[in-house]
Symmetry: C2
Subunit: 78 residues, 2 copies
């Protein structure tokens, strides 16, 4: 929920209380990404917002890996 | 050096050995940003690249704070 399809990607922006929280969220996602060996594009912007963009480069588009990772990110942020 | 002016921002992309290194670099920058209370936009993309974008929103453009932070980021990455 909250993920938006943009071309061959799914994208979502998470708003945090402050920069520190945004950074901590990015680290959590980074650790998860390494664990599942699937790496989203991650952008911290506007001080407290984190935008994630998921696609499977090797497949040239969206795959189950993206939707699974999105689900796990939701669990992290929930 | 390596910073490019884009409108009212200065921007630079740092390429790392892998995602883990890119993430560690982002954490270092995040800690530095909190310390000096000046927060760049940070993007991790293409698995191992980190793009930083600096401007001073409160001033509506570039200030000394941006160039100082850029210098300190250079020291980190050096």
């Amino acid at each position: 929920p909250g993920w938006e399809r943009q071309g061959d990607k799914i994208v979502k922006t998470f708003k945090h209380k402050n920069f520190r929280r945004a950074l901590a969220f990015v680290v959590e996602i980074g650790v998860l990404a390494e664990k599942v060996n699937h790496h989203p594009d991650i952008s911290i912007h506007g001080w407290n917002q984190v935008t994630l963009s998921l696609t499977t480069h090797s497949a040239g588009g969206l795959t189950d890996k993206d939707f699974q990772l999105a689900r796990r990110i939701e669990e992290l942020s929930g």
